[in-house]
C-alpha cells in the first residue's frame, strides 16, 4: 500500500484510530469518499466559460445556493471536459471579496466612493440622461447641396452629448439591449472593444 505524505495527512484527519489499527482500509477508497462528500447533494448546472471565444462548456456544482465546484463539461463537444487555467479559476469570482456588491457614487472632486441604493443610482443616471439628451439634441444636419450650392437640412435625431461603450463581455440579450437603448435615446455613438 502506497501512502504519500499528502494522502497520509488526509487520512490522519479522517481516522487516526484506523491508522493506529494498521490502516485496515484502502486509502484510495477513502479519498474518493471524501471527494463525493464535497459534492454530495449539489446540483450540476451547465454554463459557458467567460474568457476567449471558445465557448467551452463548464459544469457548475451548486449546493445551498453556493457555487462549490467548477469543472469542464464532459458533454460539451468543443472542450470535452477540459478547461484552461483561466476557466478553471472562475470558481473564485462567485465569492470574491473584491467584487463590487452595491451601487456607488463618486461625487465631483471627491476622493472616495459612497454606497447608494439601486433606486437612487438609477434615478441619478436617468435624470442625467434626460438633461444631457435635451441639452445636446441635434435635430438636423445642414449640408450644402452640391447642385444648388444652398444649404439643405436633414433630420438626424442625435443626442450629441451621450456615448455608450458596450461590450463583448456580456450576453447577446444584453448586448442587443445596449444597441437598442442607445439608438432609442438618440445616440448612434455606440461602440465597444470588438473594434480594437
Amino acid at each position: 500500500m502506497d501512502v504519500s505524505r499528502r494522502n497520509f495527512l488526509k487520512l490522519s484527519g479522517l481516522s487516526i484510530a484506523a491508522l493506529a489499527a494498521g490502516l485496515g482500509f484502502d486509502p484510495a477508497v477513502a479519498e474518493a469518499k471524501g471527494y463525493v462528500l464535497k459534492l454530495e447533494g449539489s446540483k450540476k448546472i451547465p454554463s459557458i466559460c467567460h474568457f476567449c471565444s471558445g465557448g467551452c462548456g463548464m459544469l457548475l456544482y451548486v449546493k445551498d445556493g453556493k457555487l462549490i465546484h467548477l469543472e469542464g463539461d464532459p458533454d460539451h463537444p468543443t472542450n470535452e471536459g477540459t478547461l484552461c487555467p483561466k476557466a478553471a479559476s472562475l470558481l473564485s469570482v462567485a465569492n470574491s471579496p473584491d467584487r463590487v456588491i452595491r451601487p456607488r457614487r463618486r461625487a465631483p472632486g471627491a476622493n472616495h466612493w459612497e454606497d447608494i441604493s439601486w433606486e437612487e443610482a438609477l434615478d441619478i443616471v436617468a435624470k442625467k440622461t434626460k438633461e444631457v439628451r435635451d441639452a445636446s439634441w441635434k435635430a438636423a444636419d445642414e449640408i450644402v447641396n452640391a447642385k444648388t450650392g444652398l444649404p439643405e437640412s436633414f433630420l438626424v435625431n442625435r443626442a450629441e452629448g451621450i456615448a455608450f461603450l458596450g461590450s463583448a463581455e456580456v450576453d447577446n440579450e444584453e448586448s442587443y439591449l445596449i444597441s437598442k437603448f442607445s439608438r432609442l435615446i438618440g445616440t448612434p455613438y455606440n461602440e465597444h472593444q470588438a473594434r480594437i
Binding site: 463537444p77 483561466k86 443610482a121 438609477l122 443616471v125 455608450f164 463581455e169 447577446n172 435615446i185 448612434p188
Partner: protein, 807 residues
C-alpha cells in the same frame, strides 16, 4: 473577410480544425490565448497535418510547429504577397474553383491603377479614396463583363498577377526579415496540403493595414479553393467570450444589428437608404424597426425610419475616435458597460484626459476596474476631477440566464446557476430599469424628439426582465398574429412589414423551442459538425459558404469530407450540414444554385474587392426616383487589393514605394510620434494565458496572479548584452508617448533579424496590467500608438517604436 466573402465571421468551427491537412497560424498565439484551438489542431497533427507558425516571437504555439518563421511585426502583407505571386506563377491555384467560385474572370475598369503606392481615386486633401475606378466594366445589362480566359489583361486574375509580380521572395525577405528560402518553404507546404486552414487573431488585425492583411489571406484561400470546405477556411479566433455576438448585435457606430448598414444624415427616407444600400436590406431593416417600434412602425410612417438617430458620415466615431471626441468636449455622459478602456486603449492618456471632461461616467462591472476609478490613478489629484461617477455592480456569467455566441457562431444558452452576489444585477436589468425610468421622465411629452422613446416597444416583463423574451425578439415574430416565426425560412417568406426580428441572422433561434439550449452532442459524420448542439447562425449552417465544397454539378469534391450535395431525386440541397445556398430547392443548373458566396453581389468570392451594386435596372425608373439595386459589394476604403505599407512608426522606409511609405489613408490619432534614430526598436504587445485582455477579472483572481504576477519586457539575448541587462533586471521602456519600468525577460524566443540588411530588434510586452486590482502593474498602453486602420478603426497595438535601457 466581409469584402471577400460577404460575412465577417470565422468560416469554420473549433471542432472542424481536426479536418485540416495544413495550418498557417499567423497573427495568433492560440496555445495561450485560445487553448481550445490547440486541442483540435493537435488532433489534426496526430493524423499527419503540418503546422506553420509565423510570429514575431517563438510562442507556445510555435513550439508545436513544423515550420516556424520569425517576422518583423506588421509586415505580413509582404510575405503573403510573395506567396500569392508564387501560387500564380507556379499555377498552384485550383483552376476550376477560381473560374467558378471567384471573380477572377470579371473585367475591371480601365481607369483602375496603382501608381507608386497610391491607388486611383486618391484625394490628397481628404486623405481618402473615391472608389469609382475600382469598379467592373459593365455590360448593357449592368452586369460585370466576363473575360473569355484568365489571360485577358482586363480581368481580375490579370490584375492580381501584375500587382503581386513585385512581391518576390527576396523583396519579402528584405521587408519582413523572414529568409526568402523560408517563405518559399511556407508557400510550398501550405499549397500542398488540402484542405488548408488559416488561423489568425489580433496579431493580424491590430495594424493600420489590418483589413488588408485578412484580404491577403482571403486571396490565398480563394486561389487554393480552401473556402467553404471542412478543414479549410479562414478562422478568425475572436478575442472575447461574446465578441461574435456583440458584433452581430452592432454595438458599433457603423451598423445596426445583423450587419445592416447604419443610416446616414442624407437618408431622408427608407427609399434613400435603399438607393445607397440596395433592396436586400429592406426586409431586414423593416423587421428591425418593427422589433423596435412595434405597432408604431407602419408603412405610412416609413416604419419609423426617422425615429433612428442618423450619423454624419464625415465624422468617424469608432472606439478610439470616441475618446478623441471626448477630449474635444463633445460628450457629457458616457456609459461604460463591461470594458476597461483606461488599460486597453492605445496611448491611454487620451482616455484619462477624456474621462475628466465628462459630467458623468456610468460604469457597470464586476470589480472596481481602473476606468471606474480614473480619478484616483496615482499622480492624479481627485479634487481636480469634476466627473461624477456612478458604478453599478454587475452579475457574472453564471449568475444570469442568457446566450453568448462563440467564434464558431454557435449561439449557446445557459441558465443562471446561482443568485448574483450581494446587490449585483445582470446588465439586462440595468438597461431595462433605466430605459423605463427615462421613458417615465418623458411621459406626456409631445415634442417630436421624444417620440422614439415614447413610441418604442420595450416589453421584457415586469420586475426582472426575461432574457428569453429578448432572445425571442431576436428570433422574430409574425406581427400579424403575435406568434414566434418558426424558422429563418418563414421569416424570409413573410411579406415586408408583417415580420419583426431584432437581428435577422438570428431568426429562428427560438422559433421551435429554445434551440440555443440544445445539448445533443452526436456527430454521425465524424466531421465535428454537432448540428444538434445549440444553434449556429445563419440557419444552423456550421461551415459557411459550403456550396463551394461541391463542384458545378453539386457533387462534393472531397469524398472524405462531404458537407452538402444536390439531391437530384428529391430536388433539394441535402447533406450533413445546412446548405449555405440562396434557395434549397434551386439546383446547380439555376443561377441561384450556382452561387457559392450568396452574400456577395456577384455570387462568387472576391479576389478583387470591386465597387459594384447588383440588380441595377437597365432603364431608369419611370417614377423619376433614383434606381435601387439589390446589394453592394463590401469595399475596403484603402484599396481593392492588399498592398504593403510600413507601420506608422517603423524602423524602415517602404522599399516598394519609398515616397508612400505608410498607408496614405491611415488615421493617426496620437500626436507624439517617434523616429527610429531615437527609438530604434520595434515594440509588439501580446497576451499571456493567465490573464485576459485588460485584466479586469483575471487580476482579481489570486490563483492567476500567483502564476503570472507582473508584466515584463521580453528581449533577445543580443539586445540584453548590448544594454547590459540580465534576466530579471529592471528596464525602462520608452516611446514618444510615455515610459514604463518593468522586469526584463532575456530570451531565445526573440532573435535579432535583418530589415533591408540592418540588424533589428523586436521587444515583446504583455499589456494586461493597470494601477488597480489585487495585482497592479504598469500599463503597456502608455507606450503604444493610437494609429488606426481606416476601415475597421482597429489600432496598431502590434507595432510602435521604443527605446530600452537599464532602469
Amino acid at each position: 473577410m466581409s469584402p471577400s466573402f460577404g460575412r465577417g465571421a470565422m468560416t469554420n468551427s473549433w471542432s472542424d480544425l481536426k479536418n485540416s491537412e495544413v495550418f498557417l497560424i499567423a497573427g495568433s498565439n492560440c496555445a495561450e490565448n485560445h487553448p481550445i484551438a490547440m486541442k483540435w489542431i493537435n488532433r489534426a497533427k496526430e493524423k499527419g497535418a503540418k503546422i506553420i507558425v509565423v510570429d514575431p516571437r517563438f510562442t507556445r504555439t510555435a513550439a508545436k510547429a513544423d515550420i516556424f518563421a520569425q517576422i518583423r511585426p506588421g509586415t505580413d502583407i509582404a510575405y503573403l504577397g510573395a506567396i500569392i505571386n508564387y501560387i500564380l506563377n507556379q499555377k498552384l491555384y485550383d483552376e476550376k474553383y477560381v473560374l467558378n467560385y471567384t471573380n477572377a474572370l470579371l473585367k475591371i475598369s480601365k481607369d483602375y491603377k496603382l501608381d507608386d503606392g497610391i491607388f486611383s481615386g486618391y484625394n490628397e486633401k481628404t486623405r481618402k479614396y473615391a472608389t469609382t475606378s475600382w469598379a467592373y466594366q459593365l455590360g448593357p445589362d449592368n452586369k460585370p463583363l466576363k473575360a473569355e480566359s484568365l489571360e485577358d489583361p482586363d480581368c481580375v486574375f490579370a490584375k492580381l498577377k501584375v500587382h503581386y509580380s513585385r512581391y518576390t521572395f527576396a523583396t519579402a525577405e528584405n521587408i519582413s526579415g523572414i529568409p526568402a528560402a523560408k517563405i518559399k518553404e511556407i508557400a510550398e507546404v501550405f499549397c500542398q496540403g488540402k484542405p488548408g486552414s488559416i488561423l489568425y487573431a489580433l496579431g493580424m488585425t491590430q495594424h493600420t493595414t489590418g483589413v488588408q492583411g485578412i484580404r491577403a489571406y482571403a486571396i490565398i484561400q480563394l486561389l487554393l479553393g480552401n473556402i467553404g470546405k471542412a478543414g479549410g477556411g479562414i478562422n478568425a479566433l475572436r478575442g472575447e467570450p461574446n465578441v461574435q455576438g456583440s458584433t452581430d448585435m452592432a454595438n458599433l457606430v457603423s451598423n445596426l444589428p445583423g450587419y445592416l448598414p447604419y443610416p446616414i444624415n442624407t437618408d431622408k427616407t427608407l427609399q434613400d437608404y435603399l438607393v445607397r444600400n440596395g433592396s436586400f436590406y429592406e426586409k431586414h431593416l423593416v423587421a428591425l424597426l418593427k422589433a423596435w417600434y412595434g405597432a408604431n412602425a407602419t408603412k405610412e410612417n416609413d416604419y419609423g425610419f426617422n425615429y433612428l438617430p442618423k450619423t454624419n458620415p464625415s465624422v468617424n466615431a469608432t472606439m478610439v475616435k470616441i475618446f478623441e471626441m471626448m477630449n474635444k468636449g463633445q460628450f457629457k455622459l458616457l456609459f461604460n458597460v463591461g470594458s476597461n478602456s483606461l488599460v486597453s486603449i492605445p496611448d491611454r492618456k487620451l482616455v484619462r484626459s477624456g474621462l475628466a471632461k465628462l459630467d458623468m461616467l456610468v460604469v457597470s462591472d464586476l470589480f472596481e476596474i481602473e476606468t471606474a476609478q480614473f480619478w484616483r490613478e496615482p499622480g492624479v489629484n481627485p479634487a481636480d476631477i469634476k466627473t461624477e461617477v456612478i458604478m453599478f455592480p454587475a452579475a457574472f456569467v453564471y449568475e444570469k440566464a442568457g446566450s453568448m455566441s462563440n467564434s464558431s457562431r454557435w449561439i449557446q444558452w445557459k441558465e443562471a446557476a446561482i443568485k448574483p452576489l450581494g446587490e449585483s444585477k445582470p446588465d439586462l436589468d440595468l438597461l431595462d430599469h433605466l430605459f423605463k425610468k427615462i421613458r417615465k421622465l418623458y411621459e406626456g411629452s409631445t415634442d417630436v424628439k421624444d417620440a422614439p422613446i415614447l413610441k418604442a416597444r420595450w416589453d421584457y416583463g415586469e420586475g426582472e426582465p426575461s432574457a428569453l423574451k429578448v432572445l425571442q425578439e431576436l428570433s422574430g415574430y409574425d406581427e400579424t398574429t403575435g406568434k414566434l416565426l418558426p424558422t429563418i425560412g418563414d421569416y424570409l417568406k413573410a411579406p415586408i412589414g408583417t415580420a419583426s426580428t431584432g437581428c435577422w441572422i438570428y431568426a429562428g433561434v427560438t422559433g421551435n423551442g429554445n434551440l440555443a439550449a440544445r445539448r445533443k452532442n452526436d456527430d454521425p459524420t465524424g466531421l465535428g459538425l454537432f448540428r444538434e448542439w445549440s444553434f449556429a447562425w445563419p440557419g444552423n449552417v456550421r461551415i459557411l459558404y459550403n456550396r463551394a465544397s461541391c463542384d458545378e454539378a453539386g457533387r462534393p469534391v472531397d469524398a472524405k469530407r462531404q458537407l452538402i450535395w444536390w439531391d437530384s431525386a428529391a430536388k433539394v440541397w441535402a447533406g450533413n450540414d445546412g446548405a449555405d445556398v440562396v434557395d434549397k430547392t434551386k439546383g446547380p443548373d439555376t443561377p441561384e444554385g450556382k452561387q457559392s458566396f450568396r452574400m456577395n453581389p456577384e455570387g462568387v468570392g472576391r479576389l478583387f474587392a470591386a465597387t459594384y451594386m447588383s440588380g441595377l435596372p437597365v432603364a431608369p425608373p419611370t417614377d423619376g426616383l433614383p434606381p435601387i439595386g439589390i446589394r453592394p459589394g463590401g469595399l475596403c476604403v484603402d484599396g481593392p487589393l492588399p498592398e504593403y505599407y510600413e507601420p506608422t512608426e517603423s524602423p524602415s522606409t517602404n522599399i516598394l514605394h519609398p515616397k508612400v511609405s505608410i498607408s496614405p489613408v491611415a488615421l493617426v490619432v496620437s500626436t507624439q510620434l517617434g523616429k527610429s534614430e531615437e527609438y530604434p526598436h520595434v515594440l509588439t504587445t501580446y497576451g499571456v494565458v493567465e490573464h485576459f485582455c485588460a485584466g479586469g477579472i483575471t487580476r482579481n483572481i489570486p490563483w492567476l496572479n500567483e502564476i503570472m504576477p507582473e508584466p515584463f519586457a521580453e528581449i533577445s539575448k543580443n539586445l540584453g548584452e548590448k544594454i547590459g541587462v540580465k534576466e530579471g533586471d529592471m528596464v525602462e521602456v520608452a516611446s514618444a508617448r510615455g515610459k514604463i519600468t518593468v522586469r526584463a525577460l532575456v530570451t531565445d524566443r526573440l532573435q535579432t533579424y535583418k530589415v533591408n540588411g540592418k540588424d533589428t530588434e523586436t521587444i515583446g510586452m504583455p499589456w494586461s496590467w493597470g494601477f488597480a486590482s489585487l495585482s497592479p502593474g504598469p500599463s503597456t498602453n502608455d507606450l503604444t500608438i493610437a494609429a488606426l486602420d481606416p476601415g475597421a478603426g482597429t489600432p496598431e497595438y502590434k507595432v510602435c517604436l521604443v527605446n530600452i535601457r537599464r532602469a
